[in-house]
Symmetry: C2
Subunit: 492 residues, 2 copies
């Protein structure tokens, strides 16, 4: 367990002022249902990878106020002694339903729905959002990056630019999204994943010459020799020195693993470095690229290499070999999300004692879907996902005849194919405060595998980087009508 | 102390593989100097606020490998038993010089310079960058936001969208940059700062009507009544209900604190809400704005309100009063940095046994400034900062005659005014592994005050949001010539 410790004060003050209010009003037995969902895919992409759910369940399991917590709250002079005493005994006793870790999901579908006494379920909002927003952002980023690398391995390299301690759960999310390992030692220890890394520019600088630094490294790590070749000049200095060391190692019966390039024109340099190594008799060399990479730069590197090789058969083969030798160390833009630094997940009250609740907004996309829900995925006979449908918990058929409707623009509708499979998306994850999913489901390796399978269910049009196809998420007629009725009731 | 715990494995694997190499080569007594600096101000801004330095020093003080750490390293089958034994005894014994927490700084100036045995100083790279990159990013963001709010209070609201546990040190950085408090309870407890928060939309939804929810809240918290008025419709519902409750409270001898608006056109709604409250006899109401705010949206809100009020004297006064009543809850874009999610700080070897070292790059801005440094700030007789100069540690005068040179484009030079004050920017922070700055300097309140004073030293042209004036950071002739010589020596 990662969230072993008590983290009851990992929350916003208003959660506790509201809970004091609910306590005073004797609302303690009211059963609330909250949906945790988001309104748009991150990175202007076509899909999202749900992540952080086992961590969220761990947090709930361990929720407990200590005397020290209560003393601090007492100092605020906002809370009554009776309420503080109530908090001391409080544990999370509710129910959680949600999607499986590593699922492909889309806007408006609840990642999890939390039902239980209103004080417990309100109190946990901030931590659940914190964990799932960040994990989901990073798993999605990782999946996008892995998807552009044509089988090239992606290693998480971002600890130095990560936002403080975020890297602990960020590494896990990167693994779920498909990364092979991390450079972060403690992260590797916690999640039991491969840790990776050889040398920095400072190693090369610490010697009087680059060649001397390479030779020393090869002598110390003859079986793990991967050399950083861009400290002074890749083609004029790093490359010939690395080849010299590769030959030296071979004379001793050892093989160089490869080289890393951390600056310059990575597409051009990869090809020229590989060409020379191949000529020198080292066609199996690995080339690790790094330097502010993300899905867009990796995609561009791969495209450029393929295009450069198009002239003749021999060059084409060489360039395709280069691509098969590449792996990528991805740092800042993976572990922080880069240009999008947060998923806008929200946690909204949708029912109180099973009575549906709504929040209206001037912005129609911000008006929530009320009520306790059921969610289905519709799959065609090629095992491709065609649409998700959100309905109410007592409904049994997501399809109104053969049609499904657009969740916001209700004039748009879509006719379903004849042969479909309907699968429930939500599973019971926690009941009476106890986690009821398999221990196995905590294992990021299984989630990584599941994520990979899920992405196979998604047509490539949803996976492209620019202007992806928009996946259909629809409401059942019953939920749609409930929503319209409540909007009318609560719009002044 | 926040970084009380051992965090020796909070590092990248390559730091340890390099250290194994240095150990095998008997480099353990070589004294390395590393500079931690960045190459451009975050947010395309004109300045940066140095932050995280006391936390970085805490990390160094507590550096220590445990047997458990070493067992994990042993499992990797990379490290020798002799080296692991060496690590068990390793403590940080080096020296740290750097700027004061909350300083205004600029690209290329080292925030800190770390000198000591190469193994110790190499090993700590990742953690130092992690702490200072993120803290500096967030303190700078906070300062930019505070600077646009015309005295309006800024409260940190971002825990639910923060990247995992980053919020712990993110809150501290937001305080250093000028925030008044946070919604994050445990953050407030750790840093001993005000915690703030009243209610969410779910509170309003939990009642059969908005008015009932407001009345209940006022009855429970008559002295802290701040009402969220945008659950259904601000002007038609939230506002009249809040005024009704304000009147009810006044009859009981209590005053409403104010209202919060979390959606819609915040500039327009602020004015209309204030207008009605003032008419009703509540001109002292506070209006808290929130909803994806940052320096740009706050600046735009303030501008729009001032422009709307320009028509006549009475309206102008009303609109200026509105601005004086506003405060801002800033979430996601403050605690994550928003569009820029990381500061690109680096940690580069600049000397080994006092011999200057260089790393050359195809990109001239990435070629490092070699050698152990001294840094000065030149201040005019109005106490405004005019330039910073980077020189070598044995130099005593930053000015070559009356001129200073551009650090990258050497054809550009600048004539200094007649009356100037020269101040050293770096202070000795740690010696022989012991922190030697005052305990007081750990206090974010003093750093916040210092940051405010520093920003007063900066002309407003450096502080504007769009295309700010570029502050001059120059090299001394001696450092410039050393750099050119080393570039020639190491360029093949």
């Amino acid at each position: 367990m990662f969230y072993r410790k008590n983290r009851a004060l990992f929350t916003d003050l208003y959660q506790l002022t509201m809970c004091q209010g609910y306590f005073d009003l004797d609302f303690t037995r009211k059963q609330a249902t909250f949906d945790l969902f988001f309104r748009s895919n991150p990175f202007k992409g076509g899909y999202t990878i749900a992540c952080g759910i086992p961590l969220a369940l761990e947090f709930l399991t361990n929720l407990k106020f200590t005397e020290r917590d209560l003393n601090y709250l007492r100092e605020q002079k906002i809370f009554s002694e009776e309420f503080l005493e109530y908090l001391l005994k409080l544990r999370f006793t509710g129910k959680v339903e949600g999607v499986r870790e590593g699922s492909v999901i889309f806007p408006y579908t609840p990642i999890i729905s939390v039902t239980g006494p209103i004080i417990e379920t309100q109190l946990v909002e901030t931590a659940l959002l914190n964990i799932i927003n960040y994990s989901t952002l990073i798993a999605t980023k990782a999946a996008r990056i892995v998807n552009t690398a044509r089988g090239g391995i992606i290693i998480e390299f971002g600890l130095r630019r990560a936002q403080g301690d975020s890297a602990y759960i960020g590494v896990r999310a990167a693994l779920v999204g498909g990364c092979m390992g991390t450079s972060f030692i403690h992260g590797g220890q916690i999640w039991n994943c491969p840790i990776v890394g050889t040398q920095a520019h400072s190693w090369v600088q610490a010697f009087d010459s680059e060649l001397e630094s390479f030779k020393s490294y090869a002598e110390i790590f003859p079986d793990k020799c991967l050399l950083l070749i861009d400290t002074y000049d890749v083609l004029k200095s790093g490359l010939p020195h690395a080849i010299e060391v590769a030959k030296m190692l071979r004379k001793r019966g050892k093989e160089i693993l490869g080289v890393r390039i951390d600056s310059g024109d990575l597409a051009y340099l990869s090809v020229e470095v590989y060409r020379e190594f191949k000529k020198a008799g080292f066609p199996n060399i690995s080339i690790v690229l790094s330097n502010e990479l993300d899905e867009f730069t990796i995609n561009s590197i791969v495209q450029q290499i393929l295009e450069r090789g198009i002239n003749n058969q021999e060059e084409r083969e060489l360039h395709e070999e280069v691509i098969s030798r590449l792996s990528y160390g991805v740092g800042t833009k993976l572990i922080t999300g880069g240009q999008q630094s947060a998923l806008g997940g929200v946690y909204k009250l949708v029912a109180l004692n099973k009575i549906p609740k709504i929040k209206v907004s001037e912005n129609v996309t911000k008006t929530i879907n009320p009520g306790i829900k059921k969610v289905w995925r519709i799959i065609d006979d090629n095992e491709k996902f065609i649409a998700d449908v959100i309905g109410l918990y007592d409904e049994n058929d997501p399809c109104s005849g053969d049609w499904i409707y657009h969740p916001i623009e209700y004039l748009k509708k879509y006719q379903l194919p004849k042969h479909i499979v309907i699968e429930p998306l939500h599973h019971l994850l926690m009941k009476n405060g106890k986690i009821i999913i398999d221990e196995d489901l905590y294992d990021w390796k299984l989630s990584q595998q599941f994520c990979k399978e899920q992405l196979n269910g998604l047509d490539s049009t949803y996976k492209r980087l620019l202007n992806p196809h928009i996946y259909k998420v629809s409401l059942t007629n019953q939920l749609y009508e409930l929503k319209i009725d409540l909007i009318k009731e609560f719009s002044p």
